[in-house]
Amino acid sequence: MLSVKNLCVSYGESVVIRDLSFEVKKNETVAIMGRNGMGKTTLMKSLIGVHKTRGGSIMLDGKELAGTESYRRVKAGLGFVPQGRQIFSALSVEDNIRTGLETAKVKKIEEWVYTTFPILKEFRHRKGGNLSGGQQQQLAIARALVSGPKVLLLDEPTEGIQPSIIKDIARTLNDLKQMRDLTIVVSEQVLSFTLAIADRILVIEAGAIVREDARASVDEATISKYLSV
């Protein structure tokens, strides 16, 4: 479904992602794990088109996305939940969700959004910037989902979220995967969360994939070594 081949990304002359390749099958959840500064966020931003790539290919259902603008990637079927949520702080919760309807066929917030995230219905007239971290994360996921993506990209969704809410997010993502027929690519550092949602784990070091494990065969101690500072 999503195929990334020989991806190269740089900041000026420093290469951050080098010859990175991986594939994600339909309905699969793939986690990309690694320490801070290893290139997780750069990779996610490059996939959605916020950061320009230097070379390589990003194919979604056989369609080349590398070099296209972000909105075209969303139209093609990518959804993005960024690191730090990046809610439109001055817009109401409802307007935040409506921004995600830009490429959707029906320009109306459907009932399943509020059924899945009841708190968003309660606070729909409140400014997005005035929600708590966990509520903002729900809003960011809802905003990405209303465009009807085939692949949902989540960049460190547990960052700054309290542990009890992290479990809720994992449960919600698993439910949504079934309900919305989703494929998920998530970058993470929290192993317990990753194990709760991922089918496969890729470890990234210095901008390259250095290890790949199916969930069934994951050795937690070994993966933890890649995450500890």
Binding site: I48, S70, F88, S89, L91, T99, G129
Partner: protein, 319 residues
Amino acid sequence: MTAKITLILLLAGLGYSWEEIKGIAIMQGFAGLNLFAIFLLMALGLSVIFGQMKVINMAHGEFMTMGAYTTVLLSWLCETHAPGLLTWYFPVAMVAAFFVAGAVGFLTEWAIIRHLYKRPLDTLLATWGLSMIFQEAFRQIAGARETSATMPEWLMGSFQPFEGVDIPINGVFLLSACLVLTGLVVANLYYTRTGLRVRATVLNRDMAGAVGINTTMTDRMTFALGCGIAGVAGCAFTTVGSISPSAGGLYIVDTFMVVVFGGAGSIVGTILAAFGIAQAQSVLEFFLSGVLAKVFVLGAVVVILMIRPQGLIASKIRK
């Protein structure tokens, strides 16, 4: 309000009768409202461009001039080829002024502004250069002398609500046009999908793209909308004054002052600032020269901005 009470007390002290004071207060108040309408019409477009996009468009006044010349051209065409249409050409001129200035704004964003979004000072220089190019173009096409549009009869004359008080109809029209346009801009920004795109792009350009908004086109349309509004301001301006190639430039400082004083990005702030500055200027002009009145108003704005740098209205959002 304070300014008006001060004016009344001062006039009473100078030995004017109550009737004379009432007449002067209404006339000066209305002159202030006219100035408010011009400031607001100019500032609305700039509020959209500077407030929403953070682009310092020094050529904004020239987009107003463009709208004014479009009106003059249409009035000349009607006069020479279809005098029967002269009565109703003005509403058509307003729409034409919007589209002419908007279309040139669209091209300007495509050709110049989009390359300079991350370099605000260069935008200032580039648009200042553009304003000079526009002024020279107006001079070459329309001539250096002042010119004016022929007003339809229904826009001329005045009415007397009280003895000794003359309210010009063109002033009432200017004020009405200003109110209608403000309503349309607010409705467009806050109640349409286009407005939502603009607000989202302003708040977080990268994220707006990542949720599916075509930010490039949104920028272009926003800039064109701001320029189009300036064009309508220019059209409305022809009802109260004549136009020359450099006419727009005369208002650019006042217009920036209104937008910054109101709080960049706040339409309500822009309205309040335009009203306050126009009324203060109008009242002061009665006692002092026009230049001194401007100096006092500018001084007051500087002091207030030192105390409240965010302007009159600032959004209250947790960062």
